[in-house]
């Protein structure tokens, strides 16, 4: 944390105390945990408002209208204010104009981009040559490449067929869908393995902070320097 040495120690100790208050939830719900949680809610709301003001409202709305003479920026300003009519039931329907504006904008922009990035380019990447005949590589390397490419096409198709519920999964379709299901299970297994890593990493981060930074701060507080 930034600040002069003494205040730095106090901020670190405060962070340590807050960390332990949250950890106390493991034992049971308690006042310290609830208080820390609610203070964080308040701080996060204040943090958000301040940052939105300095990063969005002031440069894009306030400065453009008042200093740059771009009065068309009053349009989003008015639309944004209209959103608050949601709190008044009689005129709450006006907020739909603003909601429709940004829902329409975000939806429209996502149509071509999503189709290109998530569908077309993914399909293109799947349809690689099934037989690898690179003369600079050995027979084994080419064979493994070919197997990889075949698995890629077959596996992707099988997984897509598994998710296609308009056709009953029986007979040949059932067998292909079952292969797809096994691939999906392996994929979810990989995801679970990574999830374990992720969650443990979060705990490691906090323990690292307590055993290193907080202990050092306590040492400096009582040892001086």
């Amino acid at each position: 944390m930034g600040g002069a040495g003494g205040t730095d120690i106090l901020w670190t100790l405060l962070a340590g105390a807050i960390t332990i208050a949250i950890f106390s939830f493991i034992y049971r719900d308690n006042a310290a945990y609830k208080m820390a949680e609610h203070i964080a809610v308040g701080l996060s709301v204040g943090f958000l408002v301040v940052n939105y003001y300095y990063n969005v409202f002031k440069p894009k709305l306030w400065d453009n209208v008042l200093h740059n003479g771009q009065y068309d920026y009053l349009i989003p300003g008015i639309l944004g204010l209209i959103l608050f009519t949601r709190f008044v039931p009689k005129v709450g329907w006006l907020s739909r104009y603003a909601i429709a504006f940004y829902i329409g904008g975000f939806s429209g922009v996502s149509i071509p981009a999503t189709l290109e990035a998530r569908v077309l380019q993914q399909i293109e990447a799947t349809l690689k040559p099934l037989v690898s005949l690179d003369p600079s590589r050995g027979l084994m390397a080419n064979a493994l490449s070919s197997l990889d490419a075949t698995f890629l096409v077959a596996g992707t198709l099988a997984c897509l067929i598994f998710f296609f519920f308009s056709v009953e999964h029986r007979g040949r379709v059932g067998k292909i869908a079952y292969f797809g299901r096994l691939c999906i299970m392996a994929g979810f297994g990989a995801s679970f393995g990574f999830t374990v890593m992720a969650r443990v990493s979060l705990l490691i981060g906090r323990v690292q902070f307590l055993t290193r930074d907080v202990v050092a701060a306590i040492g400096r507080l009582f040892g001086g320097g």
Partner: protein, 282 residues
Amino acid sequence: MDVIREILSRFQRLDRRVLYTLVLVAVTVPFYLNWPPVRISVSREVESAYQTIDAIPPHANPLLLSIDYDPASAAELTPMTTAVLRHCFAKGIRVLVISMQYSGQGAGIAAEVVPRIAAEYGREKDVDWAFLGFQPNPSVAILQMGESIRRTFPVDYYGKPTDKIPLMESVQNYEQIPCVLSLAGTAVGESWVTYAGSRYGLKVILGVTAVYTADIQPFYQSGQVVGVIGGLKGAAEYETRIGRPADGTNGMRSQKLVHYLIITFIALGNIAVWVTRKGEGR
């Protein structure tokens, strides 16, 4: 056999606080004992991320670093951020920092981490690095930056007009950006691929939490993402690559111990169920 069955049956009803204590001990002990030993080999995904960043000429167009995560993912992604910044600042690669994390907390993290690491290498604000702040909606902001970064960020995080920042003199839009590294705990990284990569051809490197590492594979295989740094292990690999072990590397011992602990829990839980069911004739 009945005794074993009885023990395993009681074992299934083990108090959860015993499990929690074991996990806490497994995380804490390695910090004091420097045990178990770990070996960190750099994966091809992290190597390609490193090579892409390393190829940026010093004191030229900047790496675009987008800190798109909030404190919930900080334990995994801050070590990555730190490692990449150290790589850049040590080599003289300029860094343009932004944030697309909607609540502004990514900007708060950037405001803390970037100046601290820059100061380690004596790098000058607005010349070697600049922090432009955050924009709330990634899809719109990423698209807008493709036309003009200054219009997307008229002022930097500290209120200085972007036009007056020396680093921004030669930077208009993505054409002057060699690549973007997005550090994200959510799907914001995919927004970079979808909007910046697909439409503007910008090279995208993703630093993601371990949870997303598996989900990002299709983008890496298709070439839409040129490098992936995944989780604390990815951070440790990058630290190894730059030759400066730090929080990522230090955390891997605890990671190893807890992994084996959880595998043991799963195995014992299944054995206990299997043995007790066998005893009940099922």
